[in-house]
């Protein structure tokens, strides 16, 4: 289990380095790549040391859970306006007006469109943006999920 924890810390440090190197804006693919490589190493180590014992599975599951939690948390800081407001409040109390302006700025359509273009879901065209093939596949997938779960 301690090996799982050590490997997770290794993933954190490697990811912190990788996100500061090009290419930019590939935060999630980078962590998946690093996590997969470190994870494979952990699998090899644990199986060679403990075989199929419960200790092996505990180490792998602990590593998996911590990595998933990390990805969830940083995607939250990237995409959630509420999370960004909470982080902003670390600097001290802030007026409701200032927070509302910050939230509105983060919600700006133009800002979101820029992000969607940067991530390949939209492309700029004459007269306005167009949905790319990647964007269409994404819409189709989410549409299927919505039809399946039918959330309220």
């Amino acid at each position: 289990m301690i090996e799982g924890l050590i490997c997770f810390v290794g993933v954190l440090l490697l990811h912190a380095l990788a996100t500061r190197l090009p290419p930019a804006r590939q935060t999630v693919p980078k962590v998946i790549g690093i996590g997969a490589l470190v994870g494979l190493g952990l699998v090899a180590w644990l199986f060679s040391r403990y075989g199929l014992a419960i200790t092996t599975w505990a180490g792998l599951l602990l590593f998996g859970l911590l990595c998933e939690l990390y990805v969830f948390c940083f995607t939250l800081t990237m995409n959630s306006v509420s999370t960004r407001l909470i982080i902003l409040l670390r600097g001290g109390p802030s007026s409701i007006t200032a927070l509302a302006l910050h939230a509105d700025r983060d919600s700006l359509v133009s800002r979101r469109v820029d992000t969607l273009v940067a991530n390949g879901f939209l492309e700029n065209g004459p007269g306005g943006p167009r949905v790319t093939e990647k964007g269409r596949r994404t819409l189709k997938l989410f549409g299927r999920l919505r039809a399946f779960f039918r959330p309220l």
Partner: protein, 171 residues
């Protein structure tokens, strides 16, 4: 290993019950309902494995395998629930998805109707600010919001994660 395999079987059943039976019930189509379904299960499973570990330790003394069993079962449930809830939340959609759908449904070459889309974003603003006080992360003082101790802990943790992942907190 019996505990781990038993937990795996239980989680498969837990997922099947939701997908086959509960998915169509209104109480389980809401965010709160789905979350409670998983949270309650996680509490029950954690208590069960802790009781099992305590009994094993009482008879044979605390062994590393007992501790590993507890960690494995709890982590397995954690991975299952987090994955399930993340997939479920994708079905709710997001502001970015609304923009994508609007662009896709508009005639080619049409500029985006920013005014209508802006109103969707702004409408959520008060919800976000109220949400922070409702769940105890912040409290109001006159016309200001201030983090509670819990809020500061959460904010510090998320701030550290944002720094590690080099997520820019643009002003």
């Amino acid at each position: 290993m019996a505990w781990l395999l038993g937990s795996l079987a239980y989680l498969v059943l837990h997922a099947l019950v939701y997908l086959v039976v509960l998915r169509t019930r209104d109480a389980f189509r809401s965010e709160r309902g789905v979350f409670m379904y998983h949270a309650a299960s996680a509490v029950v499973v954690t208590l069960a494995v802790l009781i099992g570990a305590a009994q094993a330790s009482w008879m044979d003394g605390l062994a590393i395998e007992t501790l590993a069993m507890v960690v494995a079962v709890v982590c397995l449930h954690g991975i299952y629930s987090m994955t399930f809830l993340e997939v479920w939340s994708l079905s709710q959609g997001s502001y970015s998805l609304t923009i994508l759908r609007t662009v896709e449904e508009s005639p080619p070459g049409t500029p985006i109707d920013e005014a209508t889309l802006e109103s969707v974003g702004v409408g959520k603003r008060q919800q976000r600010l109220d949400g922070m006080t409702t769940i105890g992360l912040a409290h109001r003082r006159a016309d200001k919001l201030e983090l509670t101790a819990l809020g500061m802990l959460v904010a510090s943790g998320l701030g550290l994660v944002a720094w590690l992942a080099n997520v820019r907190q643009d002003a």
